[in-house]
């Protein structure tokens, strides 16, 4: 079953030079610390916290998101934090290419690889590492510091290995994300 076309209003989205589409109704804090790779869609009521940066002077990338990513409605992307050697600090977050994040998910991962599909209502705990080609089922709660290796399907609370993905999943997710951006995300 193909996804239905997602119709949007031109006035709702800000389009950057590299083709990112960011909803005007999303909350983007500290935009100077956020890097979007291009052709990434951030939908309405999302929150990306680029202002939660490491203490200390200087410019730092807090949230790096790659190409062809999709952040569904009401997502929260927040860099992970911890107290290390008596000092509380935020640490940068990296999201690679072709990452789909469903509605209402909260992401505090340290790293999310390419070709990752995160379902709706997920919670990705602090400093979790999700490698390439993974799938997180709807409603999964990935505990802090978890490592999810490639070709895994994780689900449940706390999330554990449920299944393995087929070898062709990279092409499937790549085609899905490209198709969405080029064809399914259409002007009203």
């Amino acid at each position: 079953m193909e996804d239905p076309p997602c119709v949007y209003d031109r006035s709702e989205y800000i389009e950057t030079d590299t083709g990112n589409k960011v909803s005007r109704y999303s909350v983007i804090c500290g935009s100077q610390n956020i890097v979007l790779g291009g052709k990434t869609v951030i939908q309405r009521d999302c929150m990306v916290r680029g202002d939660l940066r490491r203490t200390g002077a200087g410019h730092a990338v807090v949230v790096a998101i790659g190409r062809y990513c999709f952040l569904g409605e009401r997502c929260v992307v927040r860099p992970p934090c911890k107290t290390y050697k008596g000092q509380f600090n935020y640490y940068p977050m990296k999201i690679a290419d072709h990452v789909f994040i469903g509605e209402d998910s909260v992401i505090e991962a340290a790293q999310i690889g390419s070709y990752v599909h995160i379902g709706k209502n997920c919670i990705i705990g602090r400093f979790a590492i999700i490698k390439d080609c993974c799938r997180i089922l709807d409603g999964a709660v990935v505990p802090p510091n978890a490592v999810i290796p490639s070709f895994s399907v994780y689900g449940g609370n706390p999330a554990r290995l449920v299944d393995e993905l087929p070898e062709s999943i990279q092409e499937v997710y790549e085609q899905h994300s490209k198709e969405f951006f080029e064809e399914k995300f259409v002007l009203a």
Partner: protein, 553 residues
């Protein structure tokens, strides 16, 4: 309910495996291959529609492989798997095959699994060992160890970030934060069940060794593995140690030795009685009963199965386990032994040196929009089915349904025949476009110049045709199952999945037809050179099951 002689097989099918609707699943031909015993798929076996029992051979296209030697699809059930490498899913270190067995398929580094919730445990330091006070506020933000200070005073323990279990609950502390598995090793070895196992092993090993010392085993064995035993014992006189070095034959080598010694043991009856040195596994029934009453302290079945040594009943006996290793596997076609998938050996790599997927050879079939709003009994709806061609040549697609088998006489059939009866489906299908051509796949920038074919020039029942896809209409009329089987009990609150099977025949059309219309550019020649595996193949047929939605009969 399911004991009735011929239950609505569709309902049984839907209940047995709930494929979420809507879906398009392909049938792997492997079941027919086995039935026909032949090398090639016969016409009969190919044109036999999927049956209710064939649910296990239905797969979504991304899960299917393609064997080029046999020119057929392979499902995960009809490929043979070989382990290419072992790695720990937490630290992602590759474990050499030689040490996998010694470490009992678990990570020998610092990776532990929570005995309560199976989450990964993290190591936390604590300056002073205060077991009870530390348990309260434990977490990753616990009192950090001073960097250069008196680290010898520090103790370390494991804590779970998900359920807040920590190893102090079972009195487990470590002196150093690294090499936890080796620190835990003496403790593991001191367990009663481990000692008992070791005692048993020694008890039998003593005996086995004495038998081995009695001389080489005679070569005249008969029975399973006789050839190999002959190789090792007589004929070629290969020592078992040599056999053991050959990966696939190691088990044979040990088997031959073990079975011969066991026979000798049986003959001589010299095995002395074993008396256990540790009082183990004598759980007090009353104790167990009281534990069950106070059910909060009893482990769940899942937790118990994760404690392979003693299947602990009490929660206080739950121990952290080293994390089980995962594998990368290469896959072979079972019929011709050719490799269809071969991963790179590096644990973290997601690349494959060989990857033959069906999605590169078989057109992908999807249900396109607009999708019918709702399904109703006896109301025809039109479904748009999209065929996308992955090959670099156009393909001719021919469709057929299993409708012709419906309505045949059932009077002289036995119940066996009824079970083998083709899946009837609960809807009537009209293929409006049984034959059409799908254009070749090209690089994405080649598509921009030609727009979709105007609707006026399209053949009948073709909804849309552009690039490398073609959308055709299929008319579907859901038919109430009651009309089919009036004998079955009337009120059954089972949801019927409206689905139908369709035979798809794909005939690639030659290169000649395309080359005349295309101007080969430099990019294109580079593109075709880069993907040699997409070469034109022969005709291919497969059954596809399409599920549209659920209806209550």
């Amino acid at each position: 309910m399911s004991l009735s002689p011929a239950p609505s097989s569709t309902a049984a099918w839907a209940e047995a495996a709930r494929i979420p609707v809507p879906f398009v699943y392909y049938q792997c031909p492997c079941r027919n291959l086995r039935a026909s015993q032949g090398d090639v798929l016969s016409f009969d076996s190919l044109t036999q529609p999927p049956q209710g029992a064939d649910i296990l051979t239905l797969f979504p296209l991304p899960r299917l492989y393609f064997c080029q030697e046999c020119a057929r699809m392979c499902c995960p059930l009809c490929v043979a798997e070989e382990i290419a490498c072992y790695y720990c899913p937490n630290c992602l270190f590759e474990v050499p095959t030689a040490s996998v067995k010694a470490e009992r398929n678990r990570c020998g580094r610092n990776c532990f699994e929570c005995p309560v919730c199976e989450n990964t445990l993290s190591v936390v330091s604590m300056v002073e060992p205060t077991p009870l006070a530390g348990a309260g506020g434990a977490g990753p933000a616990a009192i950090p160890a001073s960097p250069g200070g008196s680290s010898s005073n520090n103790t370390h323990y494991l804590t779970c970030g998900a359920c807040r279990w920590d190893s102090l609950e079972v009195g487990l502390q470590f002196e150093r934060p690294t090499g936890l598995a080796s620190q835990l090793q003496p403790h593991e070895d001191a367990r009663k069940d481990a000692i008992e196992f070791e005692n048993l092993r020694q008890h039998f090993e003593k005996f086995l060794k004495s038998k081995d010392a009695n001389g080489p085993t005679p070569a005249s064995h008969v029975g399973a593995g006789g050839l190999l035993r002959g190789l090792s014992g007589g004929g070629l006189n290969l020592p078992p140690s040599l056999l053991a070095t050959i990966p696939g034959l190691a088990s044979f080598a040990s088997m031959s030795r073990r079975s011969s010694t066991l026979r000798a043991i049986r003959a001589e009856h010299k095995l002395e009685a074993y008396s256990s040195s540790v009082d183990l596994l004598k759980a007090d029934d009353a104790d167990r009963e009281s534990a069950v009453v106070l059910s909060t302290s009893v482990t769940s079945l899942q937790q118990r199965l994760h404690q392979p040594n003693d299947h602990a009943v009490h929660k206080t006996a739950l121990y952290p386990q080293r994390i089980q290793l995962r594998t990368k596997r290469s896959k072979r076609c079972r019929k011709c032994d050719h490799i269809v998938v071969k991963p790179e050996h590096k644990a973290q790599s997601t690349r494959f040196s060989i990857k033959m997927m069906a999605s590169n050879h078989v057109p992908s079939i999807t249900l396109a929009h607009p999708f019918p709003d709702k399904l109703e009994w006896d109301v025809p709806v039109r479904v748009i089915v999209r065929f996308t061609n992955p090959l670099d040549v156009p393909i001719q697609v021919a469709l057929a349904t299993a409708q012709s088998t419906i309505g045949t006489a059932t009077a002289d059939r036995t119940s066996q025949d009824l079970q083998n009866e083709p899946e009837e489906g609960n809807c009537q299908i009209t293929l409006l476009a049984p034959n059409f051509v799908v254009d070749a796949a090209r690089d994405i920038w080649d598509y921009d110049d030609d727009a979709a074919t105007p609707a006026a020039t399209l053949p009948v029942a073709v909804h849309q045709k552009a690039r490398n896809f073609c959308c055709v209409y299929v008319q579907v009329t859901p038919k109430r199952p009651g009309s089919r089987q009036p004998s079955s009990e009337p009120a059954r609150f089972v949801v019927e999945t409206i689905k139908f099977s369709m035979l798809v025949h794909v005939q690639p059309l030659g290169h000649e037809q395309t080359s005349s219309t295309e101007v080969p550019g430099p990019e294109e020649t580079a593109g075709t050179a880069a993907k040699p595996d997409k070469k034109a193949a022969g005709p291919l047929s497969c059954w596809v099951v399409i599920g549209l939605g659920d209806l209550i009969p």
